[in-house]
């Protein structure tokens, strides 16, 4: 019998491959920043055709939000990757005719995603009530900070705000420093966005059986609360856990320690079996009420002293041999250069038609028969106007030109992040001209 890991690898590398799971699924999104757009990003990785609607000119405001102000080939990679594999339409929602076009697209969609202020999509004439009337199969997801109804529903939100309201933020930081830190990289957007993806997939599964669409309401705050075990702890003990530094209250000992070679290692002992394993290495490490707050600190001190005398590699060898959770603490560059991630295809090299060769995160999950794909980065504002208006709405070139002339639809302004790369030539781009798909 082949070794297990080689067997699984053969499934991923040489196993049967089938069509993308969400091929033919039509998604329309009226979204900005991260929470809404990430839903389309994930669905598009597995074959959905996602049309994103933006404002002509500046497009969505996240287009100019780059890391440290850095653009690449006149595009913003943060936005580009967040909106990979999508089709870009620019229609000015302040214009009644443009709203009609958005409505016509939604009429033909399977899924509609929005993360505007609660109630705004209704006011624009593209709310769930309006679209489901003409398209009862629509799966409509509204993403917001605090949900679509209730006293807080109209309060504007953003990642850090939701983390703050959820009382999640008061849990991250050092016990003896009067400061609170956010969970970075917009965790308060990304986690909820995956909750939306999950709900949408469930609704699709149900629609396959019954033909019925439905309305989905997901809030950032409730998605975060779903995993806030402190709520249950508080109702049981009356105590707010608050900040615990590097201690995981569910693991003892647990923390991030400095090694003899000045590196950082995370160690978190969940089970008694793991505890026994570690105690064979560290003198004085005794079990017995090890989860008590003061005991965790005592045990951590012993681990800290021991780690300080050993190199990272030695510690990892012990972890492998004895079986306890330990990992090095990586930085961005180490993550990026990690051969394991490239081998898993969680980082891949994308050869983009407009922007050239760029490393990007791969599909969010590895699937043996239907691997996800990142095919192209976000395009300039309005780049697919012609393609999609022809393909979805059957419009002629003349009709589209009239819409352009009347200012109903539009294209990019010359800002980096919105415009094509400098050497791009409209005449030589059949996709832009709507003659060919991506």
């Amino acid at each position: 019998m082949t070794d297990y890991f080689s067997y699984v690898e053969s499934l991923f590398k040489e196993g049967e491959k089938r069509d993308p799971p969400l091929k033919g699924l039509k998604v329309v999104e009226l979204t900005h920043f991260v929470f809404g757009p990430n839903v389309g990003r994930i669905l598009a990785q597995f074959g959905a055709e996602v049309v994103k609607i933006e404002t002509p000119g500046e497009g969505e405001r996240y287009r100019i939000a780059t890391i440290f102000g850095r653009f690449y080939n006149r595009t913003n990679l943060v936005y580009g990757i967040q909106n990979a594999n999508k089709y870009f339409i620019a229609a000015d929602a302040r214009n009644a005719k443009a709203r009609e076009i958005i409505f016509e697209l939604a009429k033909r969609a399977d899924v509609f995603v929005e993360n505007l202020r609660a109630g705004l999509a209704d006011a624009m004439g593209v709310g769930y009530a309006q679209i489901s009337k003409v398209n009862p199969r629509i799966i409509y997801a509204s993403c917001s900070g605090f949900g679509q109804y209730g006293p807080l529903s109209k309060v504007p939100s953003f990642d850090v705000a939701a983390q703050g309201v959820a009382s999640l933020a008061v849990k991250t930081g050092w016990e003896d420093v009067e400061e609170f830190y956010k969970l970075p990289d917009y965790f308060g957007d990304f986690l909820p966005s995956m909750m939306v993806v999950f709900a949408v997939l469930n609704a699709l599964y149900y629609r396959d059986k019954t033909g019925k669409g439905q309305y989905i309401d997901v809030s950032q705050t409730e998605s975060l609360l779903r995993f806030l075990y402190d709520i249950t702890y508080f109702s049981l003990t009356g105590e707010e856990i608050g900040k615990t530094g590097n201690i995981d209250p569910c693991a003892s000992p647990s923390g991030i320690f400095k090694t003899a070679d000045e590196k950082f290692v995370a160690i978190a002992i969940m089970t008694d079996q793991q505890f026994e394993a570690l105690s064979t290495l560290i003198e004085g490490l005794r079990n017995g009420e090890r989860f008590r707050r003061d005991r965790i600190k005592e045990l951590n001190q012993l681990v800290e002293d021991w780690v300080a005398k050993h190199k990272l590699d030695e510690i990892m060898e012990y972890a492998k041999k004895l079986g306890f959770p330990a990992s090095p603490v990586l930085g961005d560059v180490e993550v990026f250069n990690d051969p394991w991630r490239w081998e898993r295809r969680s980082i891949v090299k994308l050869l983009d038609r407009l922007y050239g060769e760029i490393p990007v995160p791969g599909a969010f999950v590895a699937m043996s028969a239907t691997p996800g794909q990142v095919k192209w980065l976000a395009r300039p504002v309005g780049y697919h106007n012609r393609l999609i208006l022809k393909k979805w709405l059957g419009m002629s070139d003349q009709e589209i030109e009239k819409l352009e002339k009347d200012g109903v639809i539009g294209y990019w302004d010359e800002q980096p992040g919105c415009a094509p790369p400098p050497i791009w030539d409209a005449e030589k781009d059949p996709v832009f001209r709507g003659e060919k798909d991506e």
Partner: protein, 401 residues
Amino acid sequence: MSRDEALMKLFAEDNKPFALEDVKVVEIAGENFAAAIAGSLLAEFGAKVVRIEFDDQAKNISLFGAKVEGCGIPYLVESRNKEIVKFSESAKELINSCDILIDGMKPGYLDSLGIGYRQISEKNPGLIYVAVSPYGHFTNKAREFANVPDSDLTAQAYNGYPSIIGNPYLTGKYSYPLRAGIWAAWTMAGLNAACGAMIALIERKKSGKGQFVDVATHDALAVIHTFPTIVGFLFGKSRTRYGTLDYIIYPFGYYRVKDGYVALATPTDPDFRALLKIIDRWDLEPDYRYSLDRISDDPERLKVLDEELNKTLQKYTVKQLVSRARKKTKGKILGRLLGAPIIVKLNKLQELLNDPHWRLRNSLIKFNPDGKGILIPNTAVKMSETPPRIFKILGKEVKKS
């Protein structure tokens, strides 16, 4: 009918069906809670989830050891709607006939027992096998580290997450990488696994075939967040601790004010300008360093502005700041285009629980094991046709309050 009333009616649970009531799931998660969370999510949406256990280790894992009916809190919360049984010969029948098998054990362990994907898929080619482990079930690294058990903290670490949490201006011990205060990596990995299972389930309707879905907790955050790849490629230099600052939007964090803390975000430049007006610091506006240039990979450069903001914000109360920020947008059709910072109070847990908003939305449910009502997070999703809901905790019925 107001919009709120109409929505509450639309989302009423009544006797509506579940989306996944025809789906059979087996969860063999051991003490890997990322895998258990994947099972819980499917269970919330009505899948028949049977959790099969080899031992009691998962029950002992809890916040400072707190227990309810002999079970730790994560175990309790993630037991929702599940049937929990001990591993036995008869459980094998269940394993062989399920639609989705969630494997949170050491990679290769189930295979060694004859209930891995290799064996089951031969008899049951429709099986969707969802593996959740530190480094996945293939690659050399996965093989090399197969004996190292999973934990949220170690997964956070390998995702590069603690390296960017904290205050860049602190030194000594406080300059260490810092843990995210919840199971950030395990929750994300659990959701990724649940979404992967659903994509495979939808695909199976067309092809009739299952497949192997592999989730690595040690990569779950980085692959979703995308930033480590972008920073690695563009800068070749890792970010430092940006807990009080940010690399895309600034200000973007928690600030001490006169009577507490606020969350403050200025997503765009006009929002930042509006903030300066609100706190009467328009004098900072003409300084080029604080316009778009206030986003910098050099924390030292941000220090001056950060100190000014901290100093000024402490002159105001939470209420003053929140109401001034709201006034900026109210009644103006294009209010958002004119800019306004987002400012909300930083809640303690007790304050969250006192807010009637969450009661109205049933965001938390009460579980009464022995008369003491304890709170448990409800499903996070509202759906009009197939509302997910919780009817069982630790195998006991949950009554609607």
